[in-house]
Symmetry: C3
């Protein structure tokens, strides 16, 4: 069991593995599991039934794991809901909000004041800017870049494998520039660049890059205004 | 620990906070957490690893929380699966079925005999009628109204914010009238009215209101029959 | 409590119900619940907060439950993530990988070396071949058949009820032939046959059968090459 400051409050049946660091005024719900090498800042709130600091795993058909992924860092003032899972090798910055049942993989960076919705998933090696909103059930694939102030609507889907496993391909997620907004249930293809302050309509399928300030919609997505 | 009637059966490592009320012949699975102010009727079955009675939370970038959300009420004969999360300020009526990993936010009302599928999400301030079916992974956004006997297919997506956070907007979910059926993975825009006993085809994107008894499909959805 | 071989390692607060069989060199994370009648082979790894061996449940509006679903079998070398739920009456073969928060229903068979992604859902009575990849948040409806080497992209949605509950209908999921690939967020209608080594583009809505080796895209999906 790790040292817990007196100002922090830990629920029932919580597991804190060796080498976990807990800041001041932290609140942790019941049945939450914090695995070794997790570093939790001050004023962090964590719900019940979470698993934090997971070491990556896989089988022989999956991509090789970076064994150097060692630590999960959660900075001051961040709030994490119930049933959330976060991997090691990831940094969650100050004042981030992570909804219930969300999950965040290894080697991800989430910047200040970003909101990650309920059951949203951020895959490995992704970089999420400041003050982004990633809504409920949105899926951010591996190797994705979101600049600051990006809005990802509910149920948005992304992919990073052009050949769906059939050929060798360097996996590339979308690159979404500052202030862009993606409507609910839109689909983004691998490596697509979404321009600054552009808007993608709900349910669109984006197969080509989108210029800055452009508004697109449809299947495939076409410019409707700019 | 609350008083538990002898006819009720509580699993291992269950947390029942102060002021929780448990009816007769209730079954609660292992590791489930029931937070203060939750009122559970007779013959209710609850699975393992649930968190019930969650107080709303947020950060400064999210909408203001109604601090008056005080109690979660679950009425007689309702069955709740494993890993489910339900917030306070919500009423779940008699004989409702809630699948595993579903989540239901604060200030929601779910009426008799409705079925909520596995991993489906009902956001805050929504009203769900009687005998509705909300299938697996469906997303019901905040401020949505479903009348009675509505069918929401798997992976249906809804939105309630016309400007995706860019401008002030009174959030409006869809209004779905009695007996309407929405096909799997369809997308509904904010404030859309879906007419009585109308049908929306799978994968459609609904951008305009739909009349009673109309059948629509496509992107954007157009009438194919009525 | 069941007999656990000395070579196996069980986390804190784990519940092993009566009649559970645990093989050699098994690792089980914290707070995981293994219900009666579950049979776990050698070298299996299971994460935290899982519920395995769930007996089917329902309410009077749902389809009748097969009460003969008695046992969950997990074969040698399989790895299961955190927060996973699996029902009884299901067989998971050797060296399968199941991501966090995935769920698999009763009477399902998953063959060797298949990868099931994070939060993916496999509904009841489905048959999944060898070396398939079912990506994150994909939804495999009930009564679906996947042959070997099938690729299902992230957020793919399927349905099995042509009349959405309005008429009597024998539920039929899609049949996806060997080596077919389905792009992210595509929608498949009930009973559709997807031909051998065919490709379905991201975001497509598949309303008709697809021939072997055909490439289709769009809403509704049309042939773009073969």
């Amino acid at each position: 069991m790790s040292d817990v400051p007196k100002s922090s409050k830990i629920g029932n049946n919580v597991v804190l593995e060796e080498g976990v660091t807990i800041g001041e005024k932290v609140v942790i719900g019941h049945n939450t599991i914090i695995l070794k090498g997790t570093d939790i800042g001050n004023n962090v709130e964590i719900g019940s039934n979470c698993v934090l600091g997971i070491q990556p795993s896989g089988n022989q058909r999956m991509r090789k794991i970076d064994e150097s992924s060692k630590q999960l860092i959660i900075k001051n003032g961040t709030r994490i809901g119930h049933g959330v899972s976060i991997y090691s090798g990831t940094i969650i910055s100050q004042n981030v909000f992570i909804g219930d049942q969300a999950s965040i993989r290894e080697n991800v960076s989430v910047s200040e004041e970003t909101v990650i919705g309920r059951a949203a998933i951020i895959e490995l090696n992704s970089t999420i800017g400041k003050r982004c909103t990633i809504q409920t059930l949105a899926y951010v694939t591996g190797d994705t870049i979101l600049e600051d102030n990006v809005f990802i609507g509910p149920c948005v889907s992304m992919s990073n494998d052009k050949y769906m496993g059939a050929e060798e391909y360097t996996l590339k997620g979308p690159i979404i520039k500052e202030g862009a907004k993606i409507g609910n249930n839109a689909s983004l293809l691998p490596g697509i660049i979404i321009g600054r302050e552009s808007i993608v309509g709900a349910g669109s399928v984006v197969t080509k890059n989108i210029n800055n300030y452009e508004i697109v919609a449809g299947v495939p997505a076409r410019r409707i205004r700019s």
